[in-house]
Amino acid sequence: MARIDAEYAFKGPHLLGLMGLNPLQLTSILDRADHYAEMARAGHRGDRLLENQTVINLFFENSTRTMSSFEIAAKRLGADVVNMPVSASSVNKGETLIDTAMTLNAMKPDVIVIRHSASGGVKLLSRKVDCAVINAGDGMHEHPTQGLLDTLTIRREKGKIEGLKVVICGDIAHSRVARSTTYALHQLGARVRLVGPRTLIPSDAADWGAEGVFTHMDDALIDADVVMMLRLQLERMDGAFLPSRREFFRFYGLTQSRLALAAPDALVMHPGPMNRGIEIESAIADGPRSVITEQVEMGVAVRMAVLDMLSGRAAP
């Protein structure tokens, strides 16, 4: 398939976040990812667009699933992948962030995928390297590839984004997924509702592009086309954001009766990993409306698309 080379397409040089991308740019990535998703389903292993290129996964925060997803995506495109998880990182020996970046840069990789626990940490690193940088999650700020894969999953299932009522529920305040996904969906015309306990919803959440911010879950779910549950970090009980898991489940857990308030064909989504019985009933996670595994599948496709669009300096 010919590569997209239109003027409006996303061109990088980095993917640090979705905020600031316009709908055409977002759509160009989704379209490219769609192509890779179809290819994978057809069993076709794909163009070796990144052959002889080096992709480094530099993860300062633990993550098996995201790192594996990037690794598989890069390898499917023929790249050489080097994984640097936090345990193996020389940061443990006291090396500063900047030194780490400059050291890696000297080895001339083509792409560095970075996850860091500080908001803005990835942007800081991107200024110190010459190659393309992909943000795999920075603090509470953004997780752009997650936002894209969530959007793609919805688009493939529903055929569109515009006009859909999407409810995102959980620890909104600390969620980079909520920020990236809300932005992308809003740019493409969806009506996003954010729901969570009052202590976990930032006061300015209405400015993110959500049409409503709710502390009462039932009110938010009415006629929803998509219900996306966020993972509750159990450390939130420390710091007195929440009383207990059972109270969270009582007021913010996705149960069958709550799901019944949404549209009959509503999708159930979760970025993973799930806390079964705390934010979502097990039966729903495994049920017919759940597209949680499709999200994972779209994750690889989206990451292939982004790697392609950022590092494809060499034409096929």
Binding site: R198, T199, A240, E247
Partner: protein, 427 residues
């Protein structure tokens, strides 16, 4: 069953009624009341001649401590109920400072269950933090669903402002009211009575007014930031009332309560190291006491509470600094407030207001007013009757009353709950 109460001075602060008349009770509800009730209807089963006594709504007390669960030797719900009813209190709210702390749904249900021997209506206040420890949030949403009437950290005000803010925000999103005793632990320190020259003369460490003012300012600003409905509990200083007035002008929904004993006693009543007068917040200066009474007369105080806190003898028969804080108050609240009517600027209706519709409206309870169809929770009392408070004759299990030995005026003669006589004093 139809009961007629006749020949009474009928007082209803909610409607500013002070008139001669009576009330008709039918099946536990008020069927008629006021100046129009001059005779018993045919078919009345019981006719009570009040003989000129005052007929008023049953009193409501928003701050009562008992020892149930955990320290029943101090007070049980049953003994507290009997003491309350003898003082004309037909409804009261129990504080979560028990063992275990009321921080769980099961304990709310335990407190509000139907107990034989308990005729007063008991409501539960839930803890804001687990174990009242001030660090982890309690299950506020679940407890609200189970019927907790408000939430408080009791006698352990939350020290961490961020945590207090989060509990206020969370409680507010569940529609719950937060009550907080204004205090600053580090300023209160190991103080045991009001800071001042009297404390200095006695050689006792003082609790400065700043501890309360700074605590109140902080709580009021947090309420402003979170939109919380706040009750500033047990104000002991007029300066705290100024802060509340200012906050209200900024749109904060702030209510306040004052302990009945703060209207009656001042710091000098500690006297010869009388530990029954050791309370927190402490008895303040006479100027403070007069200021609170003036504020009450001006309508700035929403409710008067007994702050009933039963302490056993072994906790009070100690040197002042080592004795526990707390005073019994259920049976003396009305007399304490009436003192400012007999010897002060307060009029009878205003005195009753802060014991009836004031507390009812503050936390949204049914009752505290005379109305057709309302439950017949009523009292007959003699506002002028003199009596001497003797702690051997108190009903409360722990008799640590600062009023011990005092001459008081104002006595409840009969109390009705749901139309039944649940207390009657021999004339």
């Amino acid at each position: 069953m139809i009961t007629a109460i006749l020949n009474a001075r009928v007082l209803d602060p909610a409607t500013n009624t002070d008139t001669i008349g009576g009330a008709i009770i039918d099946s536990g509800k008020i069927a008629a009341w006021g100046t129009g009730v001059k005779a018993a209807p045919g078919g009345a089963d019981q006719i009570i001649d009040a003989g000129g006594l005052c007929l008023a709504p049953g009193l409501i007390d928003l701050r009562v401590k008992t020892g149930e669960p955990g320290e029943e030797h101090r007070e049980t719900l049953e003994t507290a109920s009997r003491a309350a009813l003898s003082g004309g209190v037909t409804q009261f709210v129990v504080m979560p400072d028990t063992t275990p702390v009321i921080d769980d749904v099961a304990l709310i249900q335990f407190l509000t269950r139907d107990t034989p021997g308990v005729s007063a209506r008991i409501h539960a206040a839930g803890a804001l933090t687990t174990g009242l420890g001030g660090t982890a949030m309690a299950e506020i949403g679940l407890m609200k669903e189970a019927g907790a009437v408000f939430f408080t950290n009791g006698d352990h005000p939350i020290e961490d402002a961020a945590i207090h803010r989060r509990t206020m925000a969370y409680a507010t999103s569940h529609g719950a009211i937060v009550a907080s005793r204004p205090d600053t632990a580090s300023l209160r320190g190991s103080g045991v009575m009001n800071a001042g020259s009297f404390a200095a003369r006695l050689g006792l460490k003082g609790i400065p007014g700043e501890a309360e003012w700074i605590g109140a300012a902080r709580d009021l600003m947090l309420a402003e930031a979170t939109g919380c409905r706040l009750i500033v509990d047990q104000v002991s200083s007029p300066r705290t009332l100024d802060l509340i007035t200012e906050a209200r002008q900024r749109g904060v929904e702030a209510g306040c309560t004052v302990a009945a004993h703060a209207l009656f006693f001042n710091e000098l009543d500690v006297g010869d190291y009388l530990t029954y007068c050791k309370v927190n917040p402490p008895f303040r200066s006479e100027a403070d006491r007069q200021g609170l009474i003036a504020a009450l007369a001006a309508g700035e105080i929403d409710a008067v509470v007994s702050a009933h806190d039963p302490q056993p003898p072994e906790q009070k028969r100690l040197p002042f600094a080592e004795a526990s804080f707390g005073a019994a108050g259920l049976e003396t609240t009305l007399a304490a407030v009436l003192h400012s009517v007999h010897d002060g600027p307060l009029d009878l209706l205003d005195a009753l207001r802060v014991l009836t519709c004031g507390p009812a409206d503050l936390i949204g309870l049914e009752g505290g007013r005379l109305a057709e169809g309302a439950p017949a929770d009523l009292i007959l009392f003699d506002p002028d009757r003199p009596w001497k408070c003797e702690r051997e004759n108190l009903i409360t299990r722990s008799t640590n009353s600062p009023f011990d030995g005092r001459l008081l005026q104002g006595r409840v003669m009969r109390t009705f709950v749901e139309g039944r006589t649940v207390f009657e004093r021999d004339a």
